[in-house]
Symmetry: D2
Subunit: 417 residues, 4 copies
C-alpha cells in the first residue's frame, strides 16, 4: 500500500502539501458524523471565527469550501466579477500563469503584466495602468502574494497604496470628493496560498477584498479545504456579479450561515476537526511567532544556498520568500536530477522547477509546521545530492552557515522553560 518504501521518515520539503503535525493527524483519525447534528455547527462556529484571525481580518467573511487552491481561485473570481470584466494581473511564474489561464477561460478581460520568472510583480506597470484608467474600467487587480514556483513574495502594501492614491487627475474628476473617492474602486484579489499563516499578511490593513489559501499549505493539513475570505466590498460585489456559479457560490453559504447550520453540502468531518487542531497549534505558538519562524527558516535556507555558491532564482532581496526557495543550478546540471536523486537515495522530497524554469531550478519548501533541525536535515541532504550530481560543494558548508544563523536566532520553546 505504500508503494515505494524507504527506511525512516520521508523528509517532505516540497512547497505543499506540507508536513502535518501529529495532533492534527490525530484529530482527523475519526469516523464520520451527522453534519446536521448540533455538534458540527457548534464546531464550525469556532472555526469560522478563528479562520478570520489567520487572515488578520475582523470585517471579512470566511468561506471554507471543500476544494483546492484552484477552486478557491475560481470562487474568488466568479463571486465578484462578471464575464467580460477587466482584470489586471501579473505573470511572474507557474502559479500566476495558471491563475491567469483560469481568468481567461472564465471569460474575463485579462490584462497581463509580465515579468521575468524570478522577479516580483511589476508594480510600476500597475501604477501606470491605474493612472490611465480614468473610467475605472479595471474591475479587479489579481495578484499572487507568494509565487511558489520562483520563491517570490510580492509587496501587497504597495499594491494597496497604488490603488488608494491613483493620481491627481482622478481626483480632479471628483473635485468635491471624499477621501474614498480618490481611491480606485477595483477589487484586490489575492492568492495567499503559499503565504497566509506563514508570511506577514494583513487583510484588513491592506484592504484586500478577497484572500484565499488552501489547507495543505501553511495550515499544515491535508488537501481538501479552500479558505476564502471576502471583504464587505467583495460581498457587495457578489450581489451583482454575473459569472455563473453554484458549487462555488458564496450565497449558498451565506444562506446556511443565517440558518446556523453553516454547510450547504456535506463537509469533511475529519477536516473540520483537523482544522480545529491546526488552528489551536497556531494560536498556541502565536501567529506572529509562526511567521517569525518562517522568516528564520527562510533566511537560514538562503544562507545555505549562498554558502554552496548557488544563486537564488529570486532576483532581488525585497522579493525573497520565506516559504519557498528556488535554487538555480549551473547549466551543466539538470535540476530534475537533483529532485529525483534526493528522493531515490535520501528519502528527501524537493520541488521541481516548473515550466520556464524546468531543469534550471529546484525548490526547497520551508513552510508549515517545521522546525530548525528538520530544515538542517534537509539542507544536509541537499548538499549530498549536489555532490552526487557533480556539483563541487563542501559538505557541511551550507548546514553550517544556516546553523550559525539559527544558533543565534532561535528562541527557546516557550512551553518548555
Amino acid at each position: 500500500m505504500d508503494f515505494v518504501y524507504g527506511a525512516g521518515r520521508n523528509h517532505l520539503f516540497v512547497p505543499g502539501p506540507v508536513n502535518i503535525p501529529e495532533p492534527v493527524i490525530r484529530a482527523m483519525n475519526r469516523n464520520n458524523e451527522d453534519y446536521r447534528s448540533p455538534a458540527v455547527p457548534a464546531l464550525t462556529k469556532t472555526l469560522l471565527e478563528d479562520v478570520k484571525k489567520i487572515f488578520k481580518t475582523t470585517t471579512g467573511t470566511p468561506f471554507i469550501i471543500p476544494t483546492t487552491g484552484t477552486g478557491a481561485w475560481e470562487s474568488a473570481l466568479t463571486n465578484t466579477l462578471s464575464p467580460g470584466d477587466k482584470i489586471v494581473t501579473f505573470l511572474i511564474g507557474q502559479f500566476s500563469l495558471l491563475w491567469i489561464d483560469q481568468q481567461k477561460r472564465l471569460n474575463f478581460n485579462v490584462d497581463v503584466i509580465e515579468s521575468d520568472w524570478g522577479q516580483g510583480a511589476n508594480l510600476d506597470a500597475l501604477a501606470s495602468k491605474l493612472q490611465a484608467d480614468w473610467s475605472h474600467s479595471i474591475k479587479a487587480v489579481c495578484i499572487v502574494h507568494n509565487e511558489t514556483a520562483t520563491g517570490v513574495t510580492n509587496n501587497l502594501a504597495t499594491v494597496r497604496k497604488l490603488l488608494d492614491f491613483v493620481s491627481n487627475r482622478h481626483i480632479s474628476l471628483n473635485e468635491s470628493g471624499s477621501a474614498d473617492e480618490y481611491k480606485h474602486p477595483a477589487l484586490l484579489l489575492v492568492d495567499g496560498v503559499s503565504s497566509i499563516c506563514a508570511l506577514d499578511f494583513r487583510m484588513d490593513e491592506w484592504g484586500v477584498d478577497v484572500a484565499l489559501t488552501g489547507s495543505q499549505k501553511a495550515l499544515s493539513m491535508p488537501t481538501g479545504m479552500g479558505f476564502i475570505c471576502a471583504s464587505p466590498k467583495a460581498l457587495e460585489a457578489a450581489k451583482t456579479a454575473k459569472s455563473l456559479r453554484v458549487f462555488f457560490d458564496w450565497n449558498d453559504y451565506l444562506k446556511f450561515y443565517k440558518l446556523g447550520t453553516y454547510w450547504p453540502y456535506t463537509p469533511s468531518i475529519q477536516l473540520l476537526y483537523g482544522l480545529r487542531a491546526a488552528l489551536d497549534l497556531i494560536f498556541e505558538e502565536g501567529l506572529d511567532n509562526v511567521i517569525s519562524r518562517h522568516t528564520r527558516l527562510g533566511k537560514a535556507t538562503r544562507l545555505a544556498v549562498e554558502a554552496w555558491g548557488l544563486k537564488n532564482c529570486t532576483q532581488k532581496e525585497e522579493w525573497f520568500s520565506n516559504t519557498v526557495t528556488a535554487v538555480l543550478v549551473p547549466s551543466y546540471i539538470n535540476s530534475a536530477d537533483i529532485v529525483k536523486r534526493a528522493w531515490e537515495r535520501y528519502n528527501l522530497s524537493l520541488g521541481l522547477g516548473l515550466n520556464k524554469v524546468a531543469g534550471k531550478v529546484f525548490r526547497i519548501g520551508h513552510l508549515g509546521n517545521l522546525n530548525e533541525l528538520q530544515l538542517l536535515g534537509c539542507l544536509s541532504g541537499v548538499e549530498m545530492v549536489l555532490k552526487d550530481v557533480g556539483y563541487p560543494v563542501k559538505l557541511g558548508s551550507g548546514v553550517g552557515a544556516a546553523a550559525t544563523y539559527l544558533q543565534n536566532s532561535t528562541p527557546m520553546i516557550p512551553s518548555r522553560i
Copy 2:
C-alpha cells in the same frame, strides 16, 4: 474537541456521510506526501482502473475530483452541455430539486417533470417528451438514481429503453437509418450519489453517459472526493460544450492522464490511500455481495417499518430504496422530534425530513459498510424513540420482524468459515 460526548459509539444512520470502516480510517492516518513523486501516480493508476469497476464500465473514463456531490453534478453538466441547452429532468425530492436548481443557475433550459414526493420519476412523461422531440432538441436527460430525501429508486434501465426506441415517427424520419439512428441522442446523466456501490448500477449496460457519486456515501469514506465517470460519447460532447469551467474541467485531467502524473492540482494524499483501502474492502467482499447486503438491509428495514404500523414515504414497491428508508409519521408527531430525541437520548443519528416532507418523515440510512446487527441496534433505537414521542409501538416488534427475515437470509461471512 468532541463537543457533545455520549458514552459508547454513535449509531450513524443518516444517509450520508456514513460509517467508515476501520481499515479505511487506518489507511488515511498519515502524513502528506509529494504528489509529484513516482509513488502517487503509481497508486492513482490502480485507483482509476478500479473505480471503473464500481461504475460497471469498461469504456468509461473516471475523474476523481476533490469536491462533493454538488461539485460532481456541476462537473457532469458543464463538461457536456452549453448554456441554453435543453435538459429534461425529474423533480421527486430534495436532492433532485437541488440539482435542478443548479441546472437552472448554470443557464440550461430545464424542462422539469415533477412528481409527488414519494413517487419515482414519471417515465411516461419522459416517453412523451422524447416522442415529441423530433428535432432532438433535448440534449440531456438528468436523473437521480436514488432520491435520498424520499427513499425512491428510479429505473434506469427503462430510461435507457425509452431513449433507445423513441418511436416509429422518429424512424420514419430516417428511413435508411441504422439501428443507432433510432435512438434519441440525448445524453443520459445520472446522479448515483446514494446508489453507486450499494444499488445495482450498470453504466455500460444502461448506456449512462455521465454517472457520479461521492466518497462519503456507499464507498464509506470521508467527504472530499467526487467520482465522475464519462462515456466516450460524453467525452466527445466535452470537446464542444461551451459551459465555462476550470476547476471542474475534465480536459485538465485528461492532459495530466496523458502525462502520467494524473493530477492537475493537489489531491488529498489521505483520501487516495483511503480510497485504495475502501476499494480493497469492496472487492474482498465482492461488489455484487455488497449490493446484496444492501438489498437485505433495505428489506429488513421495511419489514420493521411495517411491523410498527408505519408507512414508507415511497409509494410503490418498485421504487423502494435499499440505501435509505423515509418513514412517514402520524400527523400528531413531528418527525424532527424523533431525530432530535434519537440523538439526545440514544446516541442515534437519523435523517431529518427535508423541505416538503419536513416534520412528516424521518429517514434511516442503511448504506455503506454496515452489517445486520448494526441495523438491528438502530431499529431497536427507533422503536424506543417512537415510544418516547408518544407513538404506541410494541418494543421488539420491528426488530423481530427484521431479524426474522435476516436470520433466514444472511449468508455466512465467507472469510470466516
Copy 3:
C-alpha cells in the same frame, strides 16, 4: 493484515478486551517520546492522582505496571506476602481458579473455599475460618470481586464486616483492646479486573488493602497496563514481605515517585496518553453515572435472557453481575457453537464457557464504553444465533424485553440537551 474480514463493525461483547472509544484510540495514535523529558512526568502525575478516583481511595498508592491482570495479581501477592503465608481464597470460577493456581505456585499456603460455579464466594465459610483463627495465622483474604467466567459479583462490604468483627472470643484475647484490636489483621486483596470502573467499588470504605484491574476491561483501553492500588497497611506489609520480586516490586516505583520521574523502566507512551483520555471520558460522564450505565445494561441483558426462557449461570440475584452475563444453554446445545456461529455469521464476538462450564454457557460481556443500542444490537444477534443452533426463540422477544426496561430507564445524554 486483518485476516478474517467481515462487512461493518465487529460487535465486541466478550468480557474483555472491550470496545475502545474513539477519543482513546485517537490519543494513542502517536510516536514515541523520551520518557525522561519533563512532559512525561507531568502527564504521569495527573494520571496517578486520577487513578485513585476510580478506586475510590484517597489514602491508597497506585501503581501502573506494564503488564496484564495476571501480572497485577502477582504484584499484589508478592509485594505483601512471604512464601508459606496462609491465604484464604475462594474458588467460584475460572478466573478465581487461575489466581489460586498462581497463589499456589508462588508457594503460599492456600486455603481454598470452593463453591459451585454460578455461586458467589461462601462467606459463611470465611466467617468460620476467621472465627477459628485465634492466632491470626491467616495473612490475607483473596477474593475476586467479579468472577468473569460465571458472571458472579461478590459482596465485598460483607467481607470487610467479617474481618472487622470477628468474634467475641478474639476480643476476649484482647480484653484491654481498642476497637482496632477486634479486627482480624489479614490483608484484603481484591481482584477488581472486571469490576473496577463498572461496578460499585469502594477501596477506602471497604478497607481493601490491595485492589487491581487491567486497562482492557472497564477502562476501555488496549491491554498493557495493570493498575494496582495499595492501602497504607499494604505498603507497610511490603516492607517485610519476603516473596522475591523485581519487575513487580512496588519499591522500585516508590523510589522513582520520590525522584519525580515516576518510571523505573520504560512505560508505553501511547498507553499513558490513552489513559489520560480514558479517564477524561469517565470523569466527563461521571464515575457514578458510568456505574449506573453498567447497572442498566446488566439488568437489560438479564431481562432478555429471561424472555428467551434461558437461565442465568449465576444462581442468585444477589450475585448477578452487571459486567458479564453467563447464559446457560439447554443440554442439547453446545454453547461453543453459539459463540462460533455468532462470529462466523453476524460478526458478533461472545465469550465462551470456560473449564467446568465449557459447552454449557456462553457469555455476554457488557462492560466498558458501551451504550444501549450497542447492547440491543448484540441481543438481537444472540437471538438469531440461538435460532440458528436450534433453540426455539421468538425473535424480538429478548430485545423487546430489554428495550422495554431501557426505554424507561435510560437518561438523556447530559451534554446534548
Copy 4:
C-alpha cells in the same frame, strides 16, 4: 494533552523508546478484538515464526510477553535457574548494573566481573573463571550485548568460544568425552535489548541459550512487548528450574502453543498488529540491510564526534556501538545541560548520562527506523547545543564529517529505482 508543545517534529534520539514508523502507528490504530477468535491465533502464528528470524534462530522458541525489557530479564532468569545458582555476569554500565541488581534480588549467587564504564566485558576474566570451574558450578553466563549507557558492544562470538573450549584440564576430567563434553555447560543468557534487529546478532551460530529484547528498541514499536527466545537447552533447563514464576513462566505459553490459542492471558491486540507491520518493514528492507544501516549511522555519528573534538565514552574501537554513542564532554560542562537545552530549544531528545557517568556523557541513540537525514538533523542540533553551552565547536563540522562518509556509503533505496 501534549503538555509541552513545540513546533515541528520532535527529534527523538534517545536510545529508546525510538521513532515508530508510520505504517506501524497505522497498524495499531484499531479497536480491540476477541483474542480467542480464530483471527488472533492466525496472526500470532505468523508473528512467532517471523520473530525467530530477527533472533537468527531456527531451533529457538520465542515468547512474546506483555512486559518490558526488565520483565524479559526476569523471564530469562527465573525460567532457567534456581535460587542459589551461580551466575557469572559483567558490570560495565547502568543497564548491566540493573540486571545484576535483579539477579541478586532473585537470590542467585552472582559473580560480577566489573570493568570501567566505557570498557567492554572483561572476557579474560571470564576465561579464568570458566577455567577454574572444574565442577561446573557456574550455571549461567549473563551478558548485555550492547550496554546502552556507555555505547559498548560486547563480542558474543568470543564468549561462546570461551564456553566451548574451556581447557585441557576440563577435558582430562572427561577422558572418554565427546566434543560436547569439552564445552562448559553454563547457559548463555544475553540481553539484546539495544542490539537485536540493529546489530549483528546470531542466536544459533553463537549458541545463545536465552536472548531477549523489547519492542520499543530496534523493532521501532511502542513499549509493551518483551521478546524472549529460548534454545532447546534453555527449554530443557526450564523443566527443572526452581525459581518461582507465574506471569513470566514459559510453561504457560508452551501449554497454549500446543492448544493453538497461543496466549495464556490477554495480549495487546494493537501491539500484535503493530508487530506484524514492524516485521514486514524489516523484512522488506532486509534484516541485513537494516543492520548495515545501523553500522552506517553509527560510524557517521562517531565521525561527527571526532570532528567536534570530543571523545567517545567507549574506550576502544572494538566495542563501538552502532546503536548508541555516549559522548564525553569537557569537565567544565555538565552533560545534563546539553540534554536539557536540546529539548528546550531545538525539540531534540538526547539521552542523559546515567549513574557513574551522569553529567559526564550525553548519549545519541541511532537505532530503529531512522535514516541518514534524520541523523544529520540531529547532529546539526547537537552542534548548536554544544555552542549554546559554551563548547567551541565549528558549526557544520560534525555534520560535514558525517555527511562526507554518508554521501559515499548510502545505498540507493531499492524500491525507488
